[in-house]
């Protein structure tokens, strides 16, 4: 085409996106900042004395013991029987075994056992100068110790405590991640559905349906003695049943043009009813111990829960699908302008059908995880979860109008919700107040989206002026 016939005016308004990268990051993933802010807030609010336990406590004492305990002293290690206490005793015995001191056999057990042990030492007139224990037992031990006049000179050594936010303890972070997995995984499917300008209200019921189906199948084929293969097939069964429910919603939406809200509202009832029918209204418990591997197990290095790893893998896959494949592109196009997509040769019905099916399957997976976490299946699981899932998607910046949204935004949205809940628990906000706060947060997220949209529209409408002028 002839460029020389173009009027010069069209060249001027190439509005730059100012600074490109960083600014787009903030508009696209501005919620990251919100999440970071929340983490900071709860870190400050939960800053408190932390008392090391287990291996950490043992290492702390081993590092400092030479400075405190003179050579040739006799030392008694005392603790209770929990896993972390056992770890403490084992690690400590190992680490100071070679030092220049006499180590009595450790006294571990409930306070009564501890007292018995001291009484025995007292009766044998066995003396010692130091007791090593952790902070949470020191008060009890001092109390017991005061009952033995012979040991009045014995000093109790505890690891040094330090200031650190409870919120940022590795255990708590694992806890937050683990709590959100079910919601976050389902939110992947929900994000796709909402990008097509639809909604799926049935995911909460599908959690229950899937959990019941899995537990029922395992119960039918081996119960508590079921093999790994059986359990995997049962999990697949739960996922496929929910995929079927999702596919049915998709069929109603595409084939009969029933609004997604109505179709999935109906399926929400159907799925919940089926879950009760399958389970005959009772929780199903007879499951093998290894069934909890998915929900409670962790990998051996950083002790990241298996379900969290699964969630992260699914998010990575979904992100790639939505940004790098034709399917993802079509999902956005169908949501942005269904008619334009159809007239561009896209099989819009197939796309819509797929997203509801995927959402159903992911809800099924969520149900499997929940059954594994709770080592049972019951029709009461997942109640009102659809609301949390939708909230995660919306807080993550996906527009309910369709055509816009990001998978990773949803992950952040899910974490924002989890962090708020966890943080409020840590600072002892009661659960009713938590509901109020959570509701306001969702409203706030949508409000931010609205304001952003209005601003964009103002720009676009000014563009539109030029187009219409």
């Amino acid at each position: 085409m002839h460029s020389d016939v173009k009027p010069p005016v069209a060249q001027t308004p190439s509005r730059s996106r100012g600074g490109g990268g960083s600014r787009r990051f903030f508009t696209d993933y501005g919620m990251v900042i919100v999440l970071a802010g929340l983490c900071l807030l709860f870190s400050v609010l939960t800053l408190s004395e932390q008392h090391p336990v287990g291996a950490a406590a043992a290492e702390d004492i081993a590092d400092n013991i030479a400075k405190i305990v003179p050579g040739g002293s006799t030392v008694l290690i005392m603790a209770q029987n929990s896993d972390e206490d056992a770890e403490f005793v084992r690690k400590l015995s190992e680490n100071i075994g070679g030092a220049n001191m006499i180590l009595l056999p450790p006294a571990t057990g409930a306070p009564a056992v501890m007292r018995g042990r001291l009484a025995e030492l007292d009766s044998r007139s066995r003396t010692f100068q130091y007791i090593i224990t952790t902070n949470n037992h020191s008060a009890t031990i001092r109390l017991i110790l005061s009952q033995f006049p012979a040991f009045s000179d014995v000093k109790v050594i505890v690891p040094q405590s330090y200031k650190w936010p409870t919120f940022l303890l590795p255990d708590n972070i694992r806890n937050v991640a683990n709590q959100i997995t079910v919601i976050a995984i389902i939110a992947i499917g929900m994000t796709m559905v909402i990008i097509t300008a639809g909604i799926d209200l049935s995911v909460g019921s599908m959690i229950a349906l899937s959990a019941v189906v899995v537990a029922w199948l395992v119960g039918q084929f081996g119960g508590a003695q079921a093999s790994t293969i059986t359990m995997l097939l049962a999990a697949l069964g739960g996922i496929l049943v929910c995929g079927g429910v999702g596919a049915f919603s998709g069929l109603m939406v595409t084939g009969f043009r029933i609004p997604p809200f109505i179709a999935t509202l109906a399926m929400m009832q159907v799925a919940a009813g089926l879950a009760y029918i399958f389970s005959e209204g009772k929780p199903i418990y007879q499951l093998p111990d290894s069934f909890v591997l998915l929900g409670r197990g962790t990998e051996p290095f950083l002790h990241i829960p298996n379900a969290v790893i699964l969630m992260l893998v699914l998010y990575a896959i979904a992100h790639v699908v939505m940004t790098r494949t034709t399917f993802g592109r079509y999902v956005y196009a169908v949501g942005g302008n269904l008619e334009a997509a159809r007239l561009s040769g896209i099989r819009v019905k197939a796309i819509l059908f797929s997203v509801y099916t995927i959402c159903g399957m992911l809800a099924g997976l969520g149900g499997v995880i929940m059954a594994s976490q709770l080592k049972s299946g019951a029709a009461t699981y997942g109640l009102t979860y659809e609301l949390y899932v939708i909230a995660a998607v919306v807080v993550g910046g996906t527009s309910l109008m369709g055509g816009e949204g990001r998978i990773l935004g949803t992950l952040i949205g899910a974490f924002i919700i989890a962090v708020i809940q966890n943080g409020m628990n840590l600072v002892n906000v009661e659960s009713y107040t938590q509901k109020v706060v959570l509701g306001l947060v969702i409203l706030g997220a949508v409000l931010v989206d609205r304001i952003k949209q209005t601003r964009m529209n103002r720009k676009a409408s000014w563009r539109g002026d030029k187009a219409a002028a």
């Binding site: 173009k6 079509y330 008619e339 896209i346 676009a460 000014w462 002026d465 030029k466």
Partner: protein, 502 residues
């Protein structure tokens, strides 16, 4: 300032004066210097290319935008409108392209919306209907004030909008592209109404792309270009060529470049196509030929294109390309068979407005640079860069959302999408609607180029001079059927087409 040609010397009194208006938006100067005035009983047209600043100027007048500098005087008193309501109360009524009627309410209720006729604190339906009927009568309307607005045609809705302006005693009527969606006889009725109103002293500001109508209707014309008012003259002091040259800012040789390709063999054939309002349409088109499709609104031109493209289900009929029968039952089939359609409404049917320009371009073509569903992004970027360069599409960057582009660039983006499909048959439905003169010219050249490549090109347009200018042959439709044919468009006339169309 040139006085309006029609006014007698004694009542030359400006109703409205806008002087030295300036307005900038973040990063862009929208209006650098605009001066505009309007006299009692005058029809004053405002013309210019897209982006010239017409709408911005109007929105300043109607209180949608606030000016940075300048002055507005109404009846010789300075005014400033902070909100649209202020302008309405000052007697300025604006009729936008998108109407602001409530479809579920009756005509009368819409006319008095916000100024309801009441008696004893209750709505007085009878009086409201009587007053509405009176207003509608003055406007020559033939529908009842009881009618539900959703049952009206676009032209009738426009009359309701005008009636509403009259009900509010507006002294100035602003109309943005009032004829864009009207059939020719509706346009002449509207013009009759406007002339009548101006005879009663109404001042009318009228924005249009249709220069013929501007020349026929206006008393004076103001041309805007690059955010400034360039000239204001009486309509008799302009020729059509003048007007275009003022708008684009340089001399033009020829408004319509004629197709120079020599048509080859019959490439495309439609046999007894029926469906919807279309009944038993048959025609052929040769490769290298530009075939026009004319007709009034609702004659079935768009329907024919949609049936061929598979967008609507056809009841019967065959479509052949090079003697081979095409099996088309969806747009997907059509695209695969080498048939594509540039739809008439680019925002509703063409673009995914929020998506980037590149994604919009790729929408119909992803399969050609993806494998097993995986998009080869580098190849996509390369194809996009090639097409935007060859079509001269102006973008800030390839991820710019389609909604931010000007009308002409949006249209070119869609053309780029369809060219990339390498279709043999290209259906253009109103390809130049709402785009500026320069982009129109580009579109004509492109159509000629496609014909020269031996493609089958079919153009639907409501602008008869355009069809006569660029087509080799024109089929005229009436009520879902082919009413006749103008065999040599270069010798055809608008009258000839209209005679067949009505």
């Amino acid at each position: 300032m040139v006085p309006p040609v029609r006014s007698r010397a004694e009542d030359v009194r400006p109703l409205l004066e806008m002087a030295a208006i300036r307005k900038s938006f973040p990063g862009v100067m929208a209006i650098s210097s605009a001066t505009f005035d309007l006299y009692t009983g005058e029809i004053h047209a405002l013309v210019g290319e897209n982006g010239a600043g017409k709408s911005t100027l109007i929105k300043i007048l109607t209180g949608v935008h606030q000016m940075d500098a300048g002055s507005i005087r109404l009846d010789e008193r300075p005014v400033s409108f902070r909100r649209p309501v202020d302008a309405q109360q000052a007697g300025i009524a604006t009729i936008y392209q998108e109407f602001t009627l409530v479809p579920a309410l009756t005509v009368a209720a819409n006319i008095f919306l916000g100024h309801e006729v009441t008696g004893n604190g209750l709505l007085d339906h009878r009086r409201e209907n009587r007053l509405a009927a009176e207003l509608l009568g003055r406007l020559g309307a033939e529908f009842d004030p009881d009618t539900c607005v959703s049952d009206l045609t676009v032209a009738q809705m426009q009359i309701v909008e005008i009636a509403r302006a009259l009900a509010r005693d507006a002294g100035i009527l602003v109309m943005d592209e009032p004829t864009a969606a009207l059939a020719p006889q509706e346009v002449s009725h509207l013009f009759g109404v406007l002339k009548e109103l101006s005879g009663r002293g109404m001042g009318t500001i009228f924005i249009s792309h249709r220069l013929d109508e501007v020349m026929a209707m206006a008393d004076r014309i103001t041309v805007m270009r690059d955010g400034a008012t360039i000239t204001t003259r009486g309509v008799d002091d302009f020729t059509r060529t003048d007007l275009i040259e003022q708008m684009v800012g340089r001399p033009i040789e020829q408004e319509y470049p004629r197709n120079t390709a020599s048509p080859g063999e019959t490439g495309f054939e439609v046999r007894s196509l029926s469906g919807g309002t279309v009944r038993d349409i048959s025609f052929t088109a040769r490769r290298g030929e530009v075939l026009g499709l004319a007709g009034l609104m609702g004659a079935g031109r768009t329907e024919v294109a949609r049936l061929i493209f598979g967008a609507d289900r056809k009841a019967s009929g065959e479509i052949l390309l090079d003697g081979r029968r095409l099996d088309i039952s969806s747009p997907r089939d059509a695209i695969r068979s080498g048939v594509c359609l540039l739809t008439e409404d680019r925002k509703a049917q063409g673009l995914v407005l929020k998506a980037s320009a590149k994604d919009n371009f790729a929408l119909a073509n992803l399969a050609s640079w993806s494998r097993l569903g995986w998009i080869h992004q580098r190849r996509e970027q390369r194809r996009f860069a090639d097409r935007t360069a060859s079509l001269n599409i102006r973008l800030a960057h390839s991820d710019q959302p389609a909604e931010e582009l000007s009308g002409g660039n949006q249209q070119k983006l869609l053309v780029a999408r369809w060219l990339e499909t390498n279709s043999e048959v290209i259906l253009f439905d109103e390809p130049t609607r709402g785009i500026d003169v320069g982009a129109k010219y580009d579109m004509y050249l492109l159509i000629g180029e496609l014909a020269a490549q031996g493609k089958v090109v079919i153009v639907i347009s409501s602008e008869l001079p355009e069809l006569l200018g660029i087509c080799d042959r024109i089929l005229v439709m009436r009520r879902g059927q082919v009413a006749g044919e103008v065999c040599d468009a270069s010798k055809g006339t608008q009258e000839e087409i209209m005679a067949l169309a009505v």
